[in-house]
């Protein structure tokens, strides 16, 4: 008797607790959107989704947001379960992996059908989303690396302006280094450090992409210079070991001369560094104008039930109106030419320094590097970077490190081929 009631209770409880799962689903016209750690934009999205629903009656929008490192885990689990979000906001080179495995919808036909959609965007940023001649994403918001200069330290070291060549870059760094102070820092996740190699003519892979091409005398010498300058304190060690908080924090503490990072760093650094204002912080291009982008774009999952509607949605989200609204609330470039122009103009008034930083992001977009569309980018990174770290931190002879890196990379390429 008692047992029965218990069992009954348990069953009832189960039904009730499981309810949310059943209540969801159905409804043919449902779009689910997975964004990459921008939950802070909830207000804006609420408004925009509202507009979209008004324009497309009977459509529901489910908004999901996951933190960067967690998004792939979530997205792939959803794919396996056969319920991928229709639209996904992807950063960096992850998309190539999905595109190459046929997980994303090819947007080229849509773009051909509606040519003026492509016209919205800065072509260089749009072309960043091309794999084997097909476009898979539309730019959501974009950033690329630039060189932040601590003008105060430049003055102390008697240096006029930002470095104009790699030699100057290293020279300046060594000049500014003394005691606590170091000359140069770079972010190193993804391929953000790659411009430093590119500007010295280093190529990662052979033109056909079948072999590693970086194991040269020149590269070895370059690594040796990095190692030397790092040991002497010209280059801050964190440049090779830190991730996000450490390098930006170090630069914000005012003891580092130059920071090679993308525009997102500005807001973080400004938040921590009370010393920062238009007279003390300079925003310049790296010598040779090379830079690595870290872009966000909207893609449509192959598993989407109604891709056309999804296309309508990303078209809407990247329209001049939405883009400039996004620029306004998040002070970031959208690669939508009109929106960026307008946004920069208004930012010029309220926060000129931020405007100056963002301005660098739409110049020299023809010299983007480190964003090669390779489906095994992540593996490549893991094969290449640790060895470089070993070399520049003086834990391995540059030649040896390069040889090991080459071996690892070539094995990867061979396995993939």
């Amino acid at each position: 008797m008692k047992r029965r009631t218990v069992v009954k209770g348990a069953l009832a409880g189960t039904g009730m607790l499981a309810a949310p799962a059943y209540l969801r689903a159905q409804s043919a016209k449902k779009l689910s959107v997975l964004t990459w750690n921008i939950a802070d934009q909830a207000e804006l999205f609420k408004v925009e989704f509202g507009e979209f629903k008004a324009a497309h009656p009977g459509v529901e929008i489910e908004w999901l947001d996951k933190k960067g490192p967690d998004l792939p885990a979530f997205y792939q689990t959803q794919i396996v379960a056969g319920t991928p979000p229709d639209i996904v906001d992807i950063q960096g080179a992850l998309w190539v992996e999905y595109a190459a495995n046929g997980g994303l919808v090819d947007l080229t036909p849509y773009l051909q059908k509606e040519p003026d959609v492509a016209k919205r965007f800065n072509p260089d940023y749009l072309n960043g989303w091309v794999y084997k001649g097909k476009t898979y994403l539309l730019p959501f918001y974009v950033a690329k690396t630039l060189l932040y200069c601590n003008k105060t330290m430049f003055k102390e070291a008697g240096l006029a302006g930002p470095p104009q060549s790699f030699d100057e870059l290293i020279g300046f760094s060594d000049k500014m280094a003394k005691g606590e102070k170091t000359g140069f820092l770079t972010l190193n996740f993804d391929w953000l450090y790659w411009p430093l190699f590119k500007m010295n003519g280093v190529e990662l892979l052979s033109p056909d992409g079948k072999k590693a091409a970086f194991n040269t005398q020149a590269t070895a010498e370059l690594l040796a210079r990095f190692a030397k300058s790092t040991a002497s304190g010209g280059i801050n060690k964190i440049a090779w070991t830190g991730r996000w908080v450490e390098p930006n924090g170090a630069f914000a503490s005012g003891t580092v001369g130059m920071l090679h990072a993308h525009s997102a760093s500005y807001f973080f650094v400004k938040g921590q560094g009370p010393w920062i204002n238009a007279d003390t912080l300079g925003a310049a291009q790296l010598p040779g104008f090379w830079s690595t982008p870290t872009n966000h774009g909207f893609a449509i999952s192959k598993g989407s039930k109604n891709p056309d509607l999804a296309w309508e949605f990303i078209k809407f989200m990247t329209s001049d109106k939405s883009a400039s609204a996004f620029f306004k609330t998040r002070s970031v470039l959208t690669a939508n030419v009109a929106a960026d122009k307008e946004g920069l103009a208004s930012l010029q008034k309220t926060e000129p320094l931020a405007a100056a930083v963002l301005q660098t992001q739409i110049e020299h977009t023809d010299k983007l590097t480190g964003n090669w569309p390779l489906p095994y980018d992540a593996g490549l990174k893991d094969a290449f970077w640790p060895e470089i770290q070993n070399a520049v931190l003086g834990r391995k002879e540059p030649k040896q490190a390069l040889a090991d890196a080459e071996r690892a990379v070539n094995r990867l390429l061979a396995r993939k081929a």
Partner: protein
């Protein structure tokens, strides 16, 4: 005759009932432990990714592992972590002996020392990341104000320090747990033994070696197994504190499995690593059990 029958029937009925009692737990473990392991096992012999249908791969993935430096590094680091568990246990043993003495406020001490165990690992990781912070971390601050070092140590960013730091954080969290388990063991050692030995004129050290340690073995075994499992599977800790970096300095098998699967969409390779990892754990536990003289195992399977 009939009596025998009744007894037997009762026995079977009891056994049936007992299995019913076990059923819920068994079901849960089946769903969330056993089946997934089998899934991994199968997957490790296939080529598969969320976007591709599976096809047989034979031993390819295991072969790949042989040439995969990262795998070996991660395996090595994992072994180091396992090897570090005894450090915590020794510390805990000392503490257990101390809080086992008849002193005032020992319950307070026990509670304080145990308090770090209930904490959420992610939070523990964040806390210790802050403690180890290069510029404003407490450790660097202390070391500098004591003039032990003149330039701050980038603990979590240095190849030499990163792994020890993670291990320290882990021990900090597990210490109380070890202590309690060992304390139990101590309290279950009958006093008479000690007194008898004392009368026979055995020194404190001698008593400890001859009586306490041997009788403590099962507890030590338990502490080791739980602690070992907890630290090698402490994904959150490494993931938040160092993300496996710098380089591969703190890459352990769990984090590597996660990265292989979800960052590189190589779930098949990840499955192979998982199988190896699983075997490693089982082997270690078995070894520890042997070392403990099998009492622990006996306690279970008697």
């Amino acid at each position: 005759m009939a009596g025998v029958w009744r007894v037997r029937r009762q026995r079977t009925r009891l056994a049936l009932l007992l299995w019913c009692f076990l059923a819920p737990s068994l079901a849960i473990f089946l769903l969330y432990r056993v089946i997934p392991v089998i899934w991994n096992l199968v997957l490790s012999f296939q080529y598969w990714s969320p976007l591709k249908p599976a096809e047989p791969a034979g031993l390819d993935h295991y072969e790949d592992l042989l040439y995969d430096d990262v795998f070996w590094q991660a395996l090595w680091n994992t072994l180091i972590v396992i090897a570090s568990a005894p450090i915590g246990i020794v510390l805990a043993l000392v503490l257990a002996l101390l809080v086992n003495a008849e002193i005032r406020g020992r319950d307070a001490y026990r509670t304080i020392i145990f308090t770090s165990y209930p904490l959420m690992t992610v939070a523990v990781a964040i806390i210790w990341r802050w403690m180890f912070d290069e510029r404003v971390g407490l450790l660097n601050y202390a070391a500098r104000s004591l003039h032990l070092i003149d330039t701050p140590i980038p603990f979590l960013n240095s190849f030499t320090w990163a792994l020890p730091c993670v291990i320290v954080a882990n021990i900090w969290q597990m210490l109380g747990f070890y202590m309690i388990i060992l304390l139990t063991g101590l309290q279950n050692i009958p006093h008479e033994l000690h007194e008898a030995a004392a009368i026979d004129g055995a020194s404190a050290a001698g008593r400890f070696r001859r009586i306490t340690l041997p009788l403590l073995r099962p507890s030590i075994f338990l502490a080791f197994v739980i602690g070992m499992l907890n630290s090698v599977t402490s994904f959150d800790l490494v993931y938040v504190m160092t993300g496996g970096g710098p380089g591969r300095a703190t890459e352990i098998l769990v984090t590597y499995i996660y990265k292989l699967g979800f960052n590189q969409t190589k779930f098949d390779d990840a499955a192979a690593v998982t199988v190896v990892f699983f075997v490693l754990l089982v082997a270690t536990t078995w070894g520890a059990n042997r070392f403990a003289g099998g009492e622990a195992g006996a306690a279970e399977t008697e």
